[in-house]
Symmetry: C2
Subunit: 347 residues, 2 copies
């Protein structure tokens, strides 16, 4: 049997991106004719076989769910996986996990790998790079071939599918409101870069709370951090220049780093600076002081994502449910409630 050529090999041979190969094979008008024909000819010569999911679905169930997440050294994603595993196992499904490592190419390759007959459906959270590129053709393709996809946490409005999210804007709004209620007035936001969807929504919630309470909104109270390992100077400058009395951090690592830097500068937490972090994880519980967090309830998110996918799978295997007017599937977005876990860093 001849070895199957993969998207990656075609891309390497022709010195084009994986996305270009994938789009050319679908005859996408986004790709120039010359490249398209070159890719198609190459693929044909080497017997490239695209996924034949629709076909495989008719014939068999794998009773396996594929998960694609951006990173694994991350308490939130780990707890979501545990939540998915529990419901999946209860319903007789196995679970296979792949990591995109926040890379667009790895996300595309992992989807190709898993969609090729190993699984019945996907539960996924988008990589940073995918959100930045706004290129979702690999997901559209899988869905068009009849394989259900459920997105969680890092989702996109550009794809029509089932989603499980928290209301990040509301959660940030409530966190900032709780700081204002405690008399804090100079509240900073330490966040990630904008192309991560949840980062943007949290910024909106932060801004809204300030404006509604008549507090001035200043661009330079928002710090965007790409890498936690070299953010000390930025944060130190923020605390020093701006007489900050509270910070909302979009993750635990930022929060614990802020506390460390504040301590070094002789500032007391929470007396001088109150701190709230998104994502209730292991660090917030064990750090000194313990950190007030927005609980994202990863287990619950995993449970619901698995339930939604399994419902969809059983439905696919029985009969597709169409909205008769529009001939489109009706997808749902489940919003998980968050709540503030008050700890020492704010009281």
């Amino acid at each position: 049997m001849k070895k199957k050529v993969t998207l990656k090999q075609i891309a390497r041979e022709l010195d084009v991106s994986i996305s270009t190969v994938s789009k050319s094979l679908r005859n996408s008008p986004e790709i120039g004719e010359e490249t398209r024909l070159r890719v198609q000819a190459f693929a044909k010569f080497y017997h490239y076989k695209p996924n034949n999911i629709a076909l495989s679905l008719k014939n068999r169930k794998t009773k396996t769910i594929g998960i694609i997440i951006p990173e694994i050294v991350h308490h939130f994603f780990s707890t979501v996986i545990n939540g998915i595993e529990r419901i999946a196992n209860e319903n007789g499904y196995s679970v296979i996990i792949c990591l995109s490592d926040d890379s667009f190419d790895k996300e595309v390759l992992n989807m190709e790998l898993l969609a090729n007959g190993s699984i019945d459906g996907f539960i996924m959270s988008l990589s940073k790079e995918t959100q930045q590129k706004k290129d979702f053709h690999h997901i559209t393709e899988v869905i068009n071939q009849g394989m259900p996809v459920v997105m969680f946490d890092r989702v996109t409005q550009d794809i029509n599918c089932d989603k499980v999210i928290i209301d990040d804007e509301l959660a940030a709004y409530e966190a900032v409101q709780s700081l204002i209620d405690k008399g804090r007035k100079n509240i900073a936001l330490v966040t990630t870069v904008d192309y991560v969807s949840v980062g943007k929504l949290r910024t909106d919630g932060y801004t809204k709370a300030l404006l509604e309470n008549g507090l001035p909104f200043e661009e330079n109270l928002i710090i965007k951090i790409e890498n936690v390992d070299n953010c000390e100077i930025k944060i130190g400058k923020l605390l020093e220049d701006k007489a900050i009395d509270a910070v909302l951090a979009v993750n635990e690592l930022f929060a614990v780093t802020i506390i460390k830097i504040a301590n070094k500068m002789g500032l007391k937490v929470p007396d001088d600076v109150a701190v709230i972090a998104f994502t209730d994880g292991i660090i917030s519980k064990y750090s000194t002081p313990t950190i007030t967090t927005v609980s994202q309830n990863g287990i619950e998110m995993g449970n619901i994502a698995a339930k939604v996918l399994i419902e969809r799978l059983e439905e696919v295997h029985n009969e597709k449910e169409f909205d008769e007017e529009e001939e489109e599937e009706i997808y749902k977005t489940v919003v998980i409630e968050t709540h503030l876990i008050e700890r020492e860093s704010t009281q």
Copy 2:
């Protein structure tokens, strides 16, 4: 096409364990004749197909590595996975991860799932239950069919395959010796239950260091914890009754819990009680005081596990390397060096 019956379904139908089904199908004398024949008849009737790995190996490479780990909310395993991913990707391999959730049955089912044509070889760390049961037939079976397996961290001497470990005994010995060098005399060990291989080795290293230094070894200085959530009383009693001046904890969570309890009791760390933890993770770096740890170097362990497996895979596809005298494959055990990262909890 008829749906394939799985090990799990056969086990459920006949009300026997998965292990019994698997062994019966291999005609193992461990299983009584009546059960064996009943399982075989059932499997035949429902067209059960065992893995046909050897056959599939001859025909194609999947260029995919399967990882099976006990748990995912665990910094050490996450870093090992990152280490494996890096080397795998550099060599053109994809990675698929399954969790055993420390369950024997899930480990067996995951191996069956992945070995069925999705991957070329395994990198795995044994589940607690597998180590307890000492039932490794599922691994032997995969190896006998020609699929390479590399074990890391939680390994067993009962299986002949490539292994990547740290010298847990030596690491514990050196950690305890460093405490003794600092003048500590009443050193406790807070560990997990004995059937986890690394737990046993660390206990041996702890004991050896005490005895070699002429310190008395007392059984009740060793506390075995199954679940970190309800260990407070045990640890409190240890610190109170025994005038402990140092503790070696086999993981970060135990260590940070010991520090919390010591603080509550009015004991100062490190002045009254010094603490060293195994596994350098995120908590040790961010807790107050920061915690001295034995670095297990998960990234390095993952790198080497991937290198060893990939070497083995390329070899399988070329020609098997036999020791001509014994007609057995030569497997290697790579021992990763550990070192002590000194932080505030001991100085």
